[in-house]
Symmetry: C2
Subunit: 186 residues, 2 copies
């Protein structure tokens, strides 16, 4: 039962973004830019950053949603699963191992990000912008996870909800719901 | 020494917002809306929420900047100081004590916000929107604090920097620097 009155058919973040549309717009814009905008990190890699942070923060809605999005983009159910279990042994590049570790450290608190892990990322080919975006995506999901759980939003009741949501955010991004997706709002 | 190449005369968040203007814009917009937009919480009360979260996250730049902003809005140097030390004995209303506690719990992690503290806030007169905004402001400063410290941004060198910054964000808000503030960029 959410702590404030939200539309009961909109679980997790979706009810919050409808509740206060003026604050929702810049949150959507920032997410769209960081996760779907021009980048040398693939959309799948950016979804893995969102996943590892949400998982570390134990936010069920965000973890399940972004795992589903990463799975859809990557085309398997193994990569995100392994990244959540152990970054070092997961089937991702050396650069991504360093960036995912930076994201995990950012999640725990900004001061945890050490010069050593930054050096490792740079040695593996990470650019300043990739490091910047990794930290900011991690910070953004620290916002999302706290927003979703701090107000005790509901989990979806329907089987298959996350697959539908993943298909939407993979194919249509994080801006407002496009036409034809009204069933996610009803 | 920041982990990425930032303009050396721009400490804390200011260098990051210049580094990547496309991601900066929605962050500025969200902050402006939540901290300066229409609200039944005063600007001072919202700056106290930003202060208590930044202090809990041990982010020196953000804590000092928002303490200075709160001090300027309140007209004393005691309130913010006492809020950081002990919310329960600080000279703020019962409603603000509950909301600041919600902010502190959100900072630690969304799941820490209990039904009991929400009930206390509502009993003290807090509305759903005030509770929503408290959680979202706390979540936003969890983003800011991680962004600022995760990239190891510099602290300002000049004595009086924070007073100038506080004067700017109190009188001009969180949007782009207005004309006449070029000295903060040079």
């Amino acid at each position: 039962m959410p702590y404030i009155e939200l539309e009961s058919h909109l679980p997790g973040i979706t009810g919050l973004l409808e509740y206060r549309k003026d604050s929702a717009q810049p949150i959507r814009d920032l997410t769209q830019y960081l996760l779907r905008g021009p980048s040398t990190l693939s959309e799948a890699e950016r979804e893995l950053i969102a996943t590892v942070v949400s998982y570390g923060n134990e936010c069920t809605f965000c973890t399940t949603a972004h795992t589903a999005a990463a799975d859809l983009l990557i085309g398997d159910h193994e990569t995100a699963k392994q990244v959540k279990q152990n970054i070092e042994t997961a089937p991702v590049s050396e650069k991504m191992k360093a960036l995912l570790t930076i994201a995990s450290l950012t999640r725990k608190g900004g001061k945890n990000v050490s010069a050593e892990i930054i050096e490792r990322a740079k040695a593996a080919g990470a650019t300043d912008i990739e490091i910047h975006d990794t930290v900011l995506i991690a910070a953004l999901f620290c916002l999302y996870n706290r927003y979703v759980d701090g107000l005790a939003t509901a989990l979806p009741a329907e089987v298959g909800y996350y697959d539908t949501l993943a298909e939407r955010i993979v194919n249509h991004g994080y801006t407002r719901l496009p036409q034809g997706y009204d069933h996610l709002k009803k």
